[in-house]
């Protein structure tokens, strides 16, 4: 007798674990707990661990679930693990931060899990509808998380802006999906590719427009210029741990969906996409880096920096093919870790509810708190692409893929940008080691979970720089699922 539904429950495990965890957390709200209870974080960690364990158990197999709308392949496995890792680190960094900021509610972690599930769905979707579903699940959770400090005006403002613009961008995406469906008669990525293969319809304006609007929608999520305006405001206003989480996770999820879409469904559209992507990549790197130069607010600076990093990933996407896709995946993993680490340290600054985020607040910390300053310095060097950190390996691999794909001018723009970017990353180091604080040096809050989170990010940032081999191999394996 055949089972009622033919489902690989392990492959579906992350979804079950995360939604189960989220629901449990919501229910937990009814059981009173102290203001400093850690149960929310513990439940969240447990669900993330369960999700990762499930997907790891079946990481060798390939499955298509729900009539092929959801695939479980090497690509899904890689990103599921990455998202679980990002979320777990964010939980560690948030652990005491939320208590300090008086926002220690179970919903915080429930939303975090929901957003993570959305990201996983985005990376695993083999259908435009499920991509949209995942994207909305992630976005709605993030809108609330950005505004989670209800008593703070900036937090509200950021959430409102992010929400309005996000809704606007979703409109573009949905309209694009509709047009693609109209042009090809399907929303399923593989069927779309089969329909388009060798079809004379490739220059159909409906199809081109559809593809383009989808690009706008995803471009918004990864904060590519000119769809990036929300980024500095949202990043600055959001609770710092949320900023770290979304700067890593949401970006990676957007790129995961974009990569699958570009490589599985629309490989034949590459020719018409390429010039657009090249322009967007060059603009994104340049605007991000040049604007970051003069920022005095650390969170805002890192926001612009994260825009620039989206540009580097786009360079890899432009390079295309096996190498390009692997480079993009590789870079996303590295970027996520170093960026999370940097935001994690920012979240550690300050005591109680105050949040020092100006560059000048870092003055003198180099000697008052050498370990913290050292870690922040490494993250900055890595973001700036200085060897032997992981950031260098990421850039090297991205640019190498692009050179091999013949994108020489774009690589020159990219390398030039990474030269410019050093300037503002260096300002952080200068503030740490070479400036005297105006009064007392900034206080650093104590939090063992957050320190563990930072140390893990730091160790990986260094390890992947010294021993890039293992991660590269995984990145290459992951994109084999798409080819």
């Amino acid at each position: 007798m055949t089972p009622l539904i033919d489902v690989d429950w392990w492959a579906l495990g992350p979804g079950l674990a995360l939604s189960g965890g989220a629901m449990l957390l919501m229910l937990l709200e009814f059981v009173p707990a102290g203001r400093n209870s850690s149960r929310g974080a513990l439940v969240a960690l447990a669900s993330l661990l369960a999700a990762a364990a499930c997907v790891w158990r079946v990481h060798e197999v390939k499955r298509a679930l729900f009539d092929g709308m959801f695939v479980h392949d090497t690509f899904t496995v890689f990103f599921t693990l990455l998202f679980c890792g990002i979320a777990a680190l964010s939980v560690l960094l948030s652990w005491d931060y939320v208590k300090r900021m008086r926002i220690n509610q179970a919903e915080y972690y429930a939303l975090l899990l929901a957003a993570t599930l959305g990201m996983i769905v985005m990376s695993a979707s083999n259908d435009l509808i499920t991509i949209f579903l995942g994207l909305e699940l992630m976005s709605l959770a993030l809108y609330v998380l950005v505004g989670f400090r209800r008593s703070r005006l900036e937090s509200n403002e950021a959430a409102m802006k992010y929400f309005l613009l996000g809704a606007f961008a979703s409109g573009f995406l949905l309209y694009g999906i509709a047009l693609l469906y109209g042009a090809t008669g399907t929303t399923h990525l593989e069927r779309m590719a089969a329909f388009l293969a060798g079809s004379p319809l490739l220059s159909n304006p409906l199809l081109l427009m559809g593809g383009l609007l989808v690009l706008v929608g995803l471009g918004f999520k990864v904060a590519a210029v000119p769809f990036h305006m929300w980024t500095p405001d949202a990043y600055e206003g959001a609770p710092t741990t949320v900023t770290g989480y979304m700067s890593a996770g949401a970006k990676a999820a957007g790129f995961a969906a974009l990569l699958r879409l570009a490589l599985v469904a629309l490989p034949d559209l590459q020719a018409s996409w390429k010039p657009v992507l090249i322009a967007i990549a060059a603009l994104t790197m340049t605007v991000g880096n040049v604007t970051a130069l003069l920022q005095t607010n650390l969170k805002r600076m890192l926001a612009y920096s994260s825009i620039a990093h989206a540009g580097y990933v786009l360079v890899a996407v432009v390079a295309g093919g096996n190498e390009g896709a692997a480079a993009a995946v590789f870079y996303l993993a590295i970027y996520s870790l170093m960026n999370l680490g940097a935001f994690g340290i920012v979240a550690l600054l300050g005591r109680d509810q105050d949040e020092p985020v100006l560059l000048s607040d870092l003055a003198g910390l180099g000697f008052k708190n050498p370990a913290l300053a050292f870690a922040l310095t490494i993250f900055m060097l890595s973001l700036g692409g200085i060897p032997p950190t992981a950031g260098f390996m990421g850039k090297f691999y991205v640019f190498r893929a692009a050179v091999q794909a013949g994108q020489i001018p774009l690589v020159i723009v990219g390398v030039l940008n990474s030269v410019v970017s050093i300037f503002y990353y260096l300002r952080v180091t200068v503030a740490l080691y070479m400036e005297e604080p105006a009064g007392e040096p900034t206080a650093v809050s104590r939090s063992i979970p957050a320190v563990i989170g930072v140390v893990v990010s730091l160790a990986l940032t260094l390890w992947w720089g010294l021993q890039a081999h293992a991660l590269l191999e995984q990145a290459q394996r992951s994109v084999l699922g798409l080819m």
Binding site: E157, L165, V216, D233, S272, L293, L294, V419, V430, L472
Partner: protein, 638 residues
């Protein structure tokens, strides 16, 4: 002989860094000094052991690779963390650890009263680690790790006295200017790996002749990009401006990093990649011309500087120019030879200058020195040796190496380069003896207060000076000219640079012309020396008269041709303004506007709807739409 244990050479200083971090201030000053010097001294011992092991091998087997681990493997491209010992890297590790050790010892005296004693040696050891990684790497990627590492340490050490704003600024400048060079280096590496598929020296150099058309555009561009990297690190035109500012760092740092070792990394890299450069004659010409131009240009600026360390800084730039000149004309061996002798006498000059500065309570202005010969006899004697060596008087070290460079330029038919080099030699002798005379001879112009504290430096500083003085005297003898089949140094480097090495592509000169060349260069040096004595000792009014005769020239030299100001106006300010414009546009017009708007609204009423209509979020949405429209238009045009 067993394996030479190459990895331990860079690992020792790194271990000292780790230990110092772990133990912290419990180590005390003595402990710190012993740890730092001991690690570098042990490195030197291992370097000697490795070099001896190498020398014991037959000539064709003088290349030992030690793989530490597989770094990465991507398709057909792989890179290892691996070390290469061959005659070239052997010379480099000996110079780096040897001179480095002496400077470490000197620093224990020089920095004795500094509150950040431990931090200083921490950075210094970290530098040694990076530099040794750089010269021992067996592929360009690992070399780049060291390359960036030394840059970082240089930045930390220039800005060591960070409470001085000028020091912090100088550190930043050095780092950023170097990044411009790195931009070239990175692109060059990417080009090489694309065409040859490898960055490992052996594979790269053996694949290059097949992968590239000799003299073609691809190899020319790739090597020029590498050379751009070298101009950054080795302070050549156009990226030399950071080096004079780098003198803000403690003087032992100037000696170690900005004279003897780090700044020669560019020369080393070009020499290491000589087989690539030989495929691109145009690039070699560029190297020769840039080297010669820098040698002359920096020497002219050196004529008019009054800060003792700045004179030495410009002199370093000029001497590095000579090394590139040698590489450019194909005399790579001569370039490395000069690199070595220069490390001896320039380190000595800087350390001597440090001893003077130390004795005069931090006075660096030559106009407030004078007559120090009697007060500081040891410093004076050793400085004099170094000054003669750099001026190029036989039998001091600088003579042999500089002569070999000029010889190479002449023999390869680069008569223009040779003439520029000769002119530079006159200027070098002149400004170096100007420095010597102003500091040590004549009447004292030392301020009262400094005069009061005047003292000769402690033995920990004098002994290294003494050792370096001996090396500056005899260090060149290994390269005595007129020997059949080349001199010992040349023969040592032969496995790297090929048989005939420096002279492979060169016309052999008759002994008579060779003698003539030597005589011309010695006469040139003597001319410079005599003129310096006349203008600054016998007849001080001569210098003044010259200054008054050509005030414009003097002003130009004092202001260093206004290059700093020019770069500021052409590069720094436009970038600054662009960033500010982008920033103002968003942050002030739109974001601040939005914030104010939102604030106002929260006080007021009908939040949601009005917010959407204030125009601020609307502006964002408008831009989003405009972006989408621009993309659409692009497609419709197709």
């Amino acid at each position: 002989m067993t394996l030479p244990l190459l990895w331990i050479i860079p690992a020792l200083p790194l271990g000292a860094v780790a230990l110092s971090l772990l133990l912290g201030d419990r180590l005390g000053r003595r402990g710190t000094a012993w740890l730092a010097c001991g690690a570098v001294g042990a490195s030197f011992a291992f370097a000697v052991r490795a070099a001896l092991a190498l020398a014991a091998r037959p000539e064709e087997g003088r290349s030992i690779t030690e793989v530490a681990y597989r770094w990465m493997q991507v398709g057909d491209f792989s890179a290892n963390v691996a070390f290469l010992l061959d005659p070239l890297s052997a010379v480099m590790i000996l110079v780096v650890t040897g001179v480095g050790f002496l400077i470490h010892v000197y620093s224990t005296g020089y920095m004795a009263h500094d509150p950040s004693f431990r931090r200083f040696f921490l950075y210094l050891n970290l530098f040694m680690f990076a530099m040794l990684t750089l010269v021992l790497a067996d592929n360009l990627l690992l070399l780049f790790v060291g390359w960036e590492g030394v840059g970082l340490c240089s930045y930390l050490l220039i800005g060591f006295w960070y409470t001085k704003p000028s020091a912090a600024e100088a550190g930043k400048k050095a780092f950023i200017v170097n990044r411009i060079g790195d931009f070239g280096f990175l692109l060059g590496m990417l080009a090489l790996v694309t065409w040859t598929g490898s960055l490992q020296y052996d594979a790269l150099f053996s694949a290059a002749p097949q992968a590239f058309v000799a003299g073609g555009i691809a190899i020319t561009v790739a090597t020029l990009l590498l050379f751009l990297g070298a101009t950054g690190k080795s302070a050549q035109i156009p990226l030399y401006t950071w080096l004079p500012d780098a003198m803000e760092g403690p003087t032992p740092v100037s000696a170690l990093i900005h004279a003897a070792t780090m700044v020669t990394a560019g020369v080393y890299m070009v020499a290491r990649c000589h087989s690539l450069f030989q495929l691109a004659p145009i690039s070699l010409e560029v190297v020769a011309v840039v080297g010669a131009a820098t040698a002359l240009f920096a020497a002219t600026i050196g004529l008019a500087q009054n800060d003792i360390k700045r004179v030495l800084a410009y002199s370093t730039i000029s001497q590095l120019g000579y090394m590139f000149m040698a590489c450019g004309v194909g005399a790579f061996g001569a370039g490395i030879f000069h690199l070595m002798t220069h490390a001896f006498f320039k380190a000595l000059l800087f350390l001597g200058a440090g001893s003077v500065i130390h004795a005069l309570s931090d006075e660096q202005d030559l106009r407030r020195m004078g007559g120090l010969a009697k007060k500081l006899p040891w410093t004076h004697a050793t400085m004099l040796v170094a000054t003669i060596a750099i001026a190029g008087i036989p039998p001091f070290a600088g003579f042999f190496s500089k002569d070999e460079i000029l010889h190479g330029a002449f023999a390869s038919g680069h008569y223009g380069v040779w003439a520029v080099g000769l002119l530079g030699a006159i200027l070098t002798a002149f400004y170096m003896f100007r420095l010597y005379v102003l500091a040590f001879r004549g009447g004292s112009r030392v301020s009262h207060e400094a005069e009061h504290h005047l003292h000769e430096s402690p033995p920990s500083m004098i002994v290294p000076l003494f050792v370096l003085a001996i090396l500056s005297l005899i260090g060149g003898w290994i390269g005595l000219p007129f020997q059949r089949g080349g001199h010992p140094f040349e023969r040592w480097l032969e496995p790297v640079f090929g048989a005939g090495g420096a002279h492979g592509t060169m016309r052999p000169l008759s002994p008579m012309i060779e003698w003539l060349l030597i005589e011309v260069s010695v006469v040139a040096a003597l001319l410079g020396i005599v003129f310096a004595f006349r203008a600054y000792l016998k007849d001080p009014s001569l210098a003044t008269r010259l200054r008054e005769r050509w005030p414009a020239v003097h002003r130009m030299l004092v202001h260093k041709y206004w290059v700093d100001e020019g770069l500021d106006a052409l590069v720094v300010m436009p970038l600054y303004r662009a960033s500010q414009r982008l920033w103002r546009f968003w942050d002030e017009k739109i974001v601040d506007g939005a914030v104010n708007g939102v604030g106002f609204l929260f006080e007021g009423f009908s939040v949601g709807l009005r917010l959407f209509q204030t125009g601020f979020v609307g502006t964002y949405a408008l831009f989003l739409t405009l972006g989408a429209v621009a993309l659409l238009l692009h497609f419709l045009r197709q």
